[in-house]
Symmetry: C2
Subunit: 192 residues, 2 copies
DNA sequence: GCTTATAAACTAATATCGTTAGTTTTATAA
DNA sequence: TTATAAAACTAACGATATTAGTTTATAAGC
């Protein structure tokens, strides 16, 4: 009980990610993807639940890849060093995989349980790094992790959309802002 | 030399913004919008250059509205107070007009001159507030404004997409993060 | 007040999507 | 060798944006 083994989910998702990174997420359609795979678009329904299903799979793949990258970046590091490492890894991922990164965004208000779980794991990782770097009340950690994520996501998005027009080095901005934020944390939450 | 005066650009844009805020930007189509306006979709081409032209007009309208809101918020305030005011105004705008705010994003790498100009004015306003609040090198101001904008945009986006799941107050997060950031700026750039 | 020019709104038609239904094909299990 | 089941296919439909060409209503000129 097994038929033609032409396509499988992994092949489809990889090609979709490649297409998203090359031409933008909005250019990933069942039509363009099926053509790229040498197949007719209805054939994709054997592997994926329509376009929305494809986007969910892509989101999941992106979140797992991002989580994996942050995990590797944080390994063996601690304190400011670890925070910087995951921050740069985050921006790096968004730069290397702009389309795939974009696909990860609407992950949260999905119904897909695995998507929600993977999304939560990403947060947990960041919380752990921050909690180990700075000992403070759990609630404060959550506030500050929200700030960290917001900065990372906002920077990645604005950078990609060309929002930073001025001729000032972008990597330096990341350094300065993160350093400033961490200085604020140290002064405000660990001075007494 | 003047024909039927049923529609005009302003009516179209306002309705499009209303639709975007109510049902999401992706639900703004020439079909849905024309139906909402009691007109056939090709009629819109008399006022707007297709769907992409409509989106550009919407983006421009959103940027102007946002700029206006920040300007009012900053009027009569200075220092930390002014920075907090525009920060809260920014988040407030994104909360009140989620669809319109979303439309403002791809403003930068557009070719539309007025769109670029309006986008630059928004930056200039934030730079002015920050520069008056903290006296420092111009280049540092730009780094820190990038951080401020990134945080605002990231927070607004993640909040809307349901990215902050944990049961911790969101407004408090804004307060804590901004305070921490401003503390860092003061210590790092104005201590000596 | 009548005519006319002009811009707005229309109808008709096309191409491209996503999607569904039903058919054909082929690799594997029996 | 045969039967089964999953994959890939064709055909068709509805919705979309868009273009071309037609009709219509308003305002300007006489």
């Amino acid at each position: 009980m097994s038929p033609r083994i032409g396509l499988d989910l992994q092949t489809i998702i990889r090609k979709a990610a490649e297409l998203a990174d090359k031409s933008g997420l909005e250019s990933v359609t069942l039509a363009s993807l099926s053509q790229e795979l040498g197949v007719r678009s209805p054939s994709l329904y054997n592997h994926v639940d329509g376009l929305s299903g494809l986007k969910e799979e892509l989101s999941l793949y992106g979140l797992k890849s991002l989580h994996d990258k942050l995990l590797r970046a944080a390994a063996g590091r601690s304190g400011d060093d670890a925070v910087f490492a995951i921050g740069l890894a985050y921006i790096g991922f968004a730069r290397e995989h702009p389309g795939l990164y974009e696909a990860t965004l609407p992950a949260q208000h999905s119904e897909n349980a695995e998507l929600i779980r993977t999304s939560e794991e990403l947060i947990k990782l960041i919380i752990q790094v921050m909690q180990l770097a700075f000992e403070m009340k759990q609630e404060d950690t959550i506030h500050l992790v929200r700030g960290f994520r917001s900065f990372m996501h906002g920077f990645a998005t604005l950078e990609r959309s060309g929002g930073f027009g001025l001729p000032v080095n972008l990597d330096e901005s990341i350094q300065v802002v993160l350093q400033t934020y961490l200085t604020g944390i140290r002064v405000k939450f660990q001075s007494q």
